[in-house]
Symmetry: C2
Subunit: 356 residues, 2 copies
DNA sequence: AAGTTGCATGTAATCGATTACATAGGGTGA
DNA sequence: TCACCCTATGTAATCGATTACATGCAACTT
């Protein structure tokens, strides 16, 4: 159960064991390196006997092909870059898991870049892909990256297969995996309206965010469908974080006339908001209904349990990874996949009339 | 702002641009490839004029060194493997961010392996390190991995620098970055006891988990320090997940004599547990106090706000990454780093006498 | 002035696999 | 029996950088 990591304590520095190379396997199996390579890559182009000898030699030596050499020659790294804006966000980490799973099954490794709002990092990872360090990339950040120095000679713009996940990339011709944010937001808004809410507040995501734009449109769609007017005063700026929800709550608490329902575009914000309302002595949902977006794990155990929109996060990750793998292996890939969302009715939303 | 990923739409297949190689740069700068390489790796071993010409040529061509070639020759990948048991867990993702940050600054990339309890994956990633795909690894999973087939000839046991994060690896001689789980658990237990709690339940982590063992010992230490007896009936099995907390809550609700306080070894469990108690009509903390462990983001906005033990997660990640980088660059690395934890007093714990 | 030192640079070996091309031998058809 | 083809295998070029070693030249020492 333990093997690796014994460091070089026991043996003298010189005796440090070197990894077996294809040469060593070839010699041991009494074949050429070409045969070893073929025995692994295209087994049916090698005689059964030779193959058996090779496999035995591989087992004996513990040979593992050197990926650097392999990749140098074959121009394939079997690595995929995943670019995301915030690694510490629950929402993304569940998606990541779906991605990792699928990539792993297909024999690909995953390199993660947490962009962290830093353009410097963005440039770095652009170079990263350009250097051929990965075969493809999944972007969760809503835009392509790259150092566009058009002035200079001819910047190396290598293109590798890309997939956009969650946040569509406007104008880019890459497969998009997403949910229908607009429709989902509209549906939730109509749900609130159907319960009798007429003053519905909206806590937004970051202003220039594509998700946010879609959801905001959906919110307006929903109001319109329900015959309600849009009131800009009921739009509260946010950025998907718990803190933003807390701030939005403070804003609401301070108002003389309050909405009867609040639609938060992330569960984090909804939970932060409920917390603040609660501290101020307001009851959810009796005094004010709160709806979220995403259906993170904590939504179900929030107090009260959060009514929200379920996003199939793991499946999103899997779908994105599959699409990328299709691309990488030269298969046709779907241009756009829209996974279904679902309203999850819990306890944080009720009719405005039913005062407890 | 967009550059990469234009795919090969415009130009015909054949014209696909190939990345600039060191040769191209050398020709353009009218120097040898060796000089180009040196201009990048050891700038002061190259004349200022040559260096300038090289840099200009690099800018013109957009040259980025091919990592496969580089790594093949120099046996360095500038990649670090991070092995963790569950990527989708909030606790880990914050740590990951700390790791990524620090690695990035030092020029290292991060490859993630979500073990997901699968031994198959474990073996795969053992081979991964053996193949020299990464320069070092950070292990969050509490044990070394590796295919120890002692029987066979001489299995390739390559050793790369390792660092154990959070979960110490028993018997392994690698730097450990951790918090003092035992002391922290003891402190929390004593805190509860000092408020007057005499029947304190303990919701555990997974049975064979090292963290769990430490915390459990700490729990017993705390009881002993407070002069309280240890009652096995008050130990409820868990596994750090929200669901485990829910189950533990159901267990408690069903009991005739209940503890006055519950110490959960993760915030997730504490939140799930409070949820269940609440549904059953019990009040926290009036009827029962609940304490957590970790201080995840949601602890502060739970209802009631959770009293817990703060772990400096980002700093843990940073410290681990720094230690590994020290190792990788041949500097001495601290054998063990223990970061301080802190009890965060919020609203979920109170004295058992103060019935609301 | 001859010898020594040291810097800037070039030449070419090297890392470890993949794979185009060459070749030997066995089988088949005429 | 000969020509041909197909299969299994080997030989060696190749991927793109790093770096040991060699070289040429200038400056400095005595």
């Amino acid at each position: 159960m333990d093997d690796l990591g014994q460091a070089d304590r026991a043996e003298p520095e010189e005796t440090r064991i070197r990894a077996a190379r294809i040469q060593d396997v070839a010699r041991l199996a009494d074949v050429s390196t070409a045969t070893v390579s073929r025995a692994l890559a295209t087994p049916d182009r090698v005689s059964p006997e030779a193959r058996a000898r090779v496999l035995e030699a591989i087992a004996k030596t513990g040979y593992v092909p050197n990926p650097a050499a392999r990749s140098l020659r074959s121009q394939k790294t079997f690595m995929v870059l995943v670019v995301l804006p915030d690694l510490s966000n629950t929402f993304f980490s569940k998606i990541l898991r779906g991605i990792e799973e699928t990539l792993f099954e297909a024999g690909y490794g995953m390199i993660i870049s947490d962009l962290d709002g830093s353009p410097e990092k963005e440039a770095h990872f652009a170079a990263f892909t350009a250097a051929g360090r990965v075969d493809g990339a999944i972007l969760l950040n809503g835009h392509l990256f790259g150092q566009s120095r058009e002035g200079e000679g001819q910047p190396a713009r290598i293109s590798i297969p890309l997939v956009a996940l969650c946040e569509a990339i406007p104008g880019a011709d890459v497969p998009q995996i997403e949910i229908d944010n607009r429709a989902a937001a509209s549906r939730m808004t109509q749900h609130l309206a159907s319960l009798g809410h007429r003053r519905i507040a909206y806590v937004s995501g970051p202003a220039n965010n594509i998700l946010e734009r879609e959801r905001f449109l959906g919110f307006k769609d929903g109001l319109e469908a329900a015959g309600l007017p849009f009131d800009p005063a009921l739009v509260i700026p946010g950025d998907y974080t718990i803190e933003a929800g807390v701030r939005a709550g403070q804003d609401l608490v301070g108002r003389s006339t309050r909405p009867t329902a609040v639609f938060c575009t992330s569960d984090e914000m909804a939970i932060g908001l409920m917390r603040t309302l609660f501290s101020a002595g307001l009851r959810v949902p009796e005094d004010i209904s709160v709806a979220g977006f995403d259906d993170i794990e904590f939504a179900a155990v929030a107090e009260p349990a959060l009514t929200t929109i379920h996003q199939p996060r793991r499946e999103l990750g899997q779908a994105a990874a599959s699409a990328l793998i299709d691309l990488l292996q030269g298969r046709p890939s779907p241009k756009r996949i829209r996974l279904e969302t679902e309203i999850v009715i819990r306890d944080s939303v009720t009719s405005p009339w039913r005062k407890s």
